[in-house]
Symmetry: C2
Subunit: 128 residues, 2 copies
C-alpha cells in the first residue's frame, strides 16, 4: 500500500484506537510517569509497552525527557485538542436532534433532494 501521505490526524486517531494506549494517557493525566510506571498496570512485556509509548510519542501525545537511565514521559495535549476540534465539527449532529425535527415540522414543503449542507472544516481540508 505504501501509504505515501499520512496525515497527523491519521496518526493521532490511530494512537487513540488502542485501549492500552488510552489507559497510558489516563495515567499521564495524573502526572509524569516513567516507562516502567506506564507499563506496570499491563500484563505485557516492557518491550511491548515501549512500542506503545513510541506510538504515542510519534503522534505527539507524549513528550519524553531522558533523565539518567530513566525516561520520564509527559502528556502533550496538543494533538488531543486537534482531534477534539475535528470531532467538534460534527457536534451539531448529536446536539441538535430535536432542533432538526422541529425544523422539519416547520418547513412548508419537503425538498426531494436537500441541498448539501456541507461541514465548515471538512471535505478536502479534512486533514489539514
Amino acid at each position: 500500500m505504501v501509504e505515501l501521505q499520512t496525515s497527523p490526524l491519521d496518526t493521532i486517531f490511530h494512537a487513540l484506537a488502542d485501549s492500552t494506549r488510552r489507559r497510558m494517557l489516563s495515567a499521564l493525566g495524573g502526572g509524569d510517569r516513567t516507562v516502567s510506571q506506564l507499563a506496570e498496570p499491563f500484563s505485557i512485556s516492557l518491550a511491548a509497552a515501549s512500542k506503545h509509548i513510541k506510538v504515542l510519542e510519534q503522534a505527539g501525545l507524549l513528550r519524553r525527557e531522558i533523565r539518567g537511565r530513566t525516561h520520564v514521559c509527559r502528556l502533550d495535549p496538543g494533538p488531543l485538542a486537534s482531534a477534539h476540534q475535528w470531532l467538534a465539527a460534527y457536534e451539531h449532529f448529536w446536539t441538535e436532534r430535536l432542533d432538526v425535527l422541529e425544523r422539519l415540522l416547520r418547513e412548508e414543503d419537503a425538498r426531494p433532494s436537500p441541498p448539501p449542507t456541507s461541514l465548515p472544516p471538512a471535505e478536502e481540508g479534512d486533514d489539514a
Copy 2:
C-alpha cells in the same frame, strides 16, 4: 494476538484513523449518500470503498438503508459524540495552560513527585 476484548472506542477511533473514511464522513455530513456516491471522489475500487464503508458501519458511525439495488448511507453521530466526550476529559490540559503556569508560580515549594491528580472518567473505566 486474537484481541479478545475490543472496546467500542477502539473501533470508533480506528474507523477515524483513515483520511478516506474521515472524508466519507464529511460527505455524509452533507446528507445521505449511496455507496457509489461515497466512493466517487477516491481513486480506489468500489470494493475497497465498500470495505471502508463497512468499517464505518461496524463502528456505528453509519447506518445503511437498502433501497432496491442501492444502499443509502446516513451519518450516525452517536459514536462521534462518545469519542468527543472521551477527549473532553482532557480538555483542561490544553485550555488551562496559563492557569497551570500561574498555579506553579503561586506554590510555596516544588513537590518532587506530585501526588497523582487522576482524571475523572479514566484509568480502568476508560472503555466503559
